[in-house]
Subunit: 166 residues, 2 copies
Amino acid sequence: MPNGAPKLEVLTEIEQEVVNMCADAVRVAGLPKSLGEIYGLLFISRDPHSLDDLVGRLQISKGSVSQGLKALRMFGAIREREGADARRTYFEADIKLKKLVGGFIREQLRPHLKSGNERVKELEKVVMEEEDPDQRVFYEQRVKKLERWLKQGKLILPLMQRVLGE
Amino acid sequence: MPNGAPKLEVLTEIEQEVVNMCADAVRVAGLPKSLGEIYGLLFISRDPHSLDDLVGRLQISKGSVSQGLKALRMFGAIREREGADARRTYFEADIKLKKLVGGFIREQLRPHLKSGNERVKELEKVVMEEEDPDQRVFYEQRVKKLERWLKQGKLILPLMQRVLGE
DNA sequence: AATCTAGTTCAAAAAAAATTGAACCTGTCA
DNA sequence: TGACAGGTTCAATTTTTTTTGAACTAGATT
């Protein structure tokens, strides 16, 4: 009978430190702290953890951990693994920066660029209706500027991924 | 006697659209909406605006606009300009993407990388105290990984600035 | 089939962040 | 000098975001 009981111990100093660093790092990216805490603990752990392990060690609710794991899986930041209790799902961190940044770009940045494009197209239409010719010319310049910004954004994402390709 | 009275008119469709786009864009970067609204209105205006103009047109409080302008000045995203009323300070948008991104990197990203470095140095010390040799080797690997991540981050910032050099 | 249990969902609660507005500077003008 | 106006500050309030936890689903297990 395998020991599948969730771990309940408190975090060691090292674990706590890494968990905090990751929590702060994801905040910079505008993601919830709990996500970083979960990733941080997996990152600094040799053995994979189950949902209940994470609840016990990090002292955050089952709901938060469930949602956090879901998001991290979407980013490709964690992987499922076999573990002590065949009934549970265990997770380990994917530590390739390329993967993490790639997931972030795909899930967070690209959707915004996409909707930005649509909005600029809308803008072009509205600008065409401007009566005053000088004003219209000015607006056209500015909208063109927005378009160029979006293009630059689209350009820089794959570049970032390439550079972080290690 | 120059007419320095603040503008009170409501936003046109175009202005509203650009203001909203900028508001959403800065949210992605983790900055307050009001900052984006202010920048957006300046971006799409031919003439510079005073603090009271912005309060009147955007319907946000004097306090918020004052703070927003302060932050935008720090980023280098806006410039002071002469205007109708010699007593007031007027602002116009700096529309060079390089400048905007540069300001963001300098004010928001670099400080985090810096504190990250310090924290990793702290971590190294704590790891040295780990008794179990296998565990210590594992921790050393992970801390090294964190160091590499920070280095990559430092590497990519100037690259971004260069690419956005237009 | 009834019971367990790992995991999910989501409305409500809590926490964090942004905004407000009144008090307060500071320099100008009469 | 005193009244005034532009601008700043910051404690209190509002809004937004995150977290919680109880109810629920689904897939074993007896």
